[in-house]
Assembly symmetry: C2
Homo-oligomer: 368 residues x 2
């Protein structure tokens, strides 16, 4: 049996986490007969009230706590609620309160472990303050991202967009549609939008300095999505670093990295900078297939310090920013008193085994 990479398993999911349904604006008309418009036989507050022989108002008072109720009544109500297994209808609560105690998070790719980390981070923060977290993956499609965001905005008290790819005008629309909008790794000139961004400019300079100190001169950068702000920041960083860096179109996924290697090699680099660690994993895999040894033949670096980056072979040199801190800062921005200023987070270079001095000079670029 062949030791093969089974690409067929990796076929593209068109609309993965968020998909558009070409439907009419509202869903199918309510199908239920009128008699059954109620919420699927679950106990309501009325059931509890009847059983405890009090008014619904009292039930509500008991269950929300902090209201003046006589202990006997309170006990009766709690017992009744327990008995019928009552739980309040969240839709009704939301409707009444005008708040769902929920924030929405949109990420370009749920399959990217780095985003999964960020997700956990802010979910934990939000949970600590009594909020749910809703997350949508957009499969790197800016249009889908826009629609997801607009839709989510109606549900949630606050919206967090991670590395949004949509256009600035669209982003402004989303800002208008949201109670509160916070961005990660994107800036937008808008009065009510907060943001926390990683200083990729710094990160790239660090990486370049590291590579330069090792003696690398021919460096290829595997570009991320062109609509990604963070990619633009990296590119600016390269210009500032003053190293000649050749750019090769790539993308943001493992597969993208795998696929971009061959073209990158035509430039005969001594070092490769991947858009992020996820991409870098794909790069390492392809290089291994080609029999190119890292770091002896070629150095590879990533950006992000994803959880697996310490576990690749060799370990990945990368630029690390704490996802915990990212989550914490993002959550701060949802506070009513938060400023809308942009928070800058810088990370640090993490040197692992994927970088070294160029061992042998590969043949010089073809004559030109």
């Amino acid at each position: 049996m062949a030791d093969r990479i089974r690409w067929k398993r990796e076929k593209v999911y068109i609309a993965v986490v968020a998909a558009i349904v070409p439907r009419t604006w509202s869903n199918d008309p309510v199908r239920k007969p009128t008699s059954d418009r109620t919420s699927a036989g679950r106990a309501t507050i009325h059931d509890v009230a009847r059983l405890a022989e009090v008014s619904t108002a009292t039930v509500s008072r008991v269950l929300s706590g902090g209201k003046p109720v006589s202990p006997q009544v309170a006990d009766r109500v709690r017992a009744a609620a327990q008995e019928v297994g009552y739980r309040p209808n969240p839709a009704a609560q939301t409707l009444l309160r005008g708040s769902s105690q929920t924030i929405g998070v949109v990420v370009p790719d749920l399959g990217n472990p780095y985003f999964a980390e960020i997700l956990k981070g802010i979910a934990a923060e939000a949970a600590g303050d009594g909020h749910h977290t809703l997350v949508a993956g957009t499969e790197e499609d800016p249009e889908q991202e826009y629609r997801s965001a607009i839709e989510l905005a109606r549900w949630v008290d606050g919206l967090l967009l991670c590395a949004p790819r949509m256009s600035a005008p669209q982003l402004k629309e989303v800002a208008e549609a949201s109670r509160r909008l916070v961005l990660i790794n994107r800036v937008l000139r808008h009065p009510s939008v907060g943001a926390v961004v990683v200083d990729y400019h710094h990160g790239v300079r660090e990486l370049c300095a590291h590579l330069a100190s090792l003696g690398h001169e021919r460096i290829v950068y595997l570009e991320g999505p062109s609509t990604a702000w963070s990619d633009q920041q990296r590119q600016r960083g390269f210009r500032a670093a003053g190293l000649p860096v050749t750019r090769v179109a790539c993308g943001s996924s493992l597969r993208d990295g795998y696929a971009a290697v061959d073209e990158a090699l035509t430039h005969e680099p001594t070092a490769l900078i991947a858009f992020n660690d996820h991409v870098a994993v794909g790069v390492l895999s392809r290089l291994r297939e080609l029999g190119i040894t890292v770091p002896d033949d070629l150095s590879v670096v990533g950006v992000d310090d994803a959880p697996m980056s310490a576990h690749t072979d060799p370990g990945l040199t990368t630029y690390a920013v704490s996802t915990v801190e990212l989550g914490r800062q993002a959550w701060q921005h949802f506070s009513p008193t938060a400023s809308t200023a942009t928070t800058h987070l810088s990370g640090e270079l993490v040197v692992r085994g994927s970088t070294a001095r160029p061992r042998r000079r590969r043949t010089v670029k073809p004559s030109r």
Copy 2:
């Protein structure tokens, strides 16, 4: 100016991830002053009705489509809706319909790329049928899982639990609390619960047969969480395979795999079976650190065929089940006509570079 009515003809269905809040049953009392009980200044159907000089019922008719309305009125309404940026309040719709057009998905670990895949799979299926998907990560905590499930159950039309770790009684409670409950990789004797499970019994036998055919005799199995049904299935598979397999406590994460290697090695195995691919990645990493070559010194296999398993060094031999099929089947179970029988899915052995004949006999177990 009124160019098109893009959003009115299509609804965006979002896949969402929800983290549940470890809180008391009710949230803090409404803080808003009475005057501001309304939904944060967003346009309501009344605003549209007023502007278009029609009744709210007519607005609703126009926007839901398929209802008899005169073209002129329809245009006026659409223009008005456009102008004020009206979007229906989802909470109100949900309350009225008694259905949120949403399913909930609970996974033990969002950081496990395999679950991310499953997630994408069922989200795509659900979206295709016009349903949102809510997902909660539980960090492998059964209690949190239970609370998330119970909480989510109130919101969603159907609940999907991936590899739930909670106890059977708790699971039954969740079943009672849900409109519809579907399980992945867990079985529960309950009349209304559907399930789709991977035949790990078969998978493990395949893996064992493969290892046996290579000549392996001393095999260590790195156990998953003891509360995982799928782990129990694997263990049963080992017994059926008739190979002596030594069990070592491990877990389900990359780090768990990394940490369990040292103890596993004390048994001087020629092959290691990891609970899943995620664990196996950690294993490979630790083995590399220790200077143990895979597969020459030691063969390693995983289970799941996660996306990265083709990209490790060496590629991971594993047991593959299509996440797409898993998602599709799970979604089937939400259909009103679905049976509650358990669907069994079997996968296939995928042989990559991490398994080979034992190259050299390591020293025999110390005398005892």
